[in-house]
Symmetry: C2
Subunit: 150 residues, 2 copies
DNA sequence: CGCAAATCAATTGTGCACAACTCAATAGCG
DNA sequence: CGCTATTGAGTTGTGCACAATTGATTTGCG
């Protein structure tokens, strides 16, 4: 694997291209997820919250936010909509009255099975090999960590 | 470089991780850009539009949308804000009255110089090597193309 | 030519992201 | 113990993303 020289001009262009590709890829994924999740009545961010709850059980809003890198300004209304849809239930923590625990309802648990085929469909739609996906995941994780330092 | 076997469970998890990493990385970039662009008075999507105009000169809304993968529902209000900020000017195309040409004002042209240090700062903030950035760009481009096929 | 289909921009409505703020509850220091 | 600082959730306001629709203009078929 040769490394072509990186001119100043290419470096500047590379930044634009990486940032733009990231932005575009994120929205492209969103579009495909929108299709795949339509029949479940979930948006992609709502699906991410459901994944957390399916995997980890009842969790406080704060903890969900840490896992998904989202703050209360985003989660509060989103969780309100999930509650209105009958998928989750909110309850104040008895230990700490500031904290609100999010718990799946029966309907929320039940949705899990219908969501199972979604990831495999997405995986196929990316057109990447498993190795490439691993590389992508790794690079994205490192970028996010580095950017979040500043 | 060995290829560990991919279990069914890992495949499912890999999809979640890639999608989530993409989502998170995109927002992490947005946050850093927000900082870097604050003194220019631009948001990241507005900056992308300015990049297109700086590079290609006056272009119709349609063409900008194709380059940035954005539709008129997003661009119309965004361009209105750029116009209100005195950075661009809108004019109906004489050749085709349906089309609206976006043209930089003097202030819009002038902003270019102040924006020059931004990409280098971003590049450094990613913490990746040039080769890794090239790999990332390539993978993201392929994913977006594949996803946009469906 | 005349009219139906396509095209382009804009608008409307919903939802996400995030900064800035409020308010209640808790932790922790003197 | 009392008071201050911090924490957790929610609210408000701005802006982006996108589906669906509207309205004006152009294209192109018959």
């Amino acid at each position: 694997m040769t490394t072509p020289p990186a001119s100043d001009a290419e470096l500047l262009r590379l930044d634009h291209q990486v940032c733009f590709s990231l932005h575009a890829a994120s929205r492209a994924f969103g579009g495909v997820y929108r299709e795949a999740l339509k029949e479940l009545g979930l948006t992609y961010p709502q699906y991410l919250v459901m994944l957390v709850l399916w995997e980890h059980g009842p969790e406080p809003v704060k903890r969900i936010g840490e896992r998904l890198r989202l703050d209360s300004g985003t989660l509060s209304p989103l969780l309100k909509r999930l509650e209105a849809a009958g998928l989750v239930h909110r309850e104040r923590s008895p230990q700490d009255e500031r904290s609100v625990i999010i718990r799946l309802t029966g309907a929320g648990e039940g949705l899990r099975e219908r969501a199972l085929p979604v990831p495999r469909r997405m995986l196929a739609a990316t057109g990447l090999t498993v190795d490439e996906l691993r590389t992508l995941r790794s690079l994205l994780g490192r970028v996010t960590s580095a950017l979040d330092e500043g």
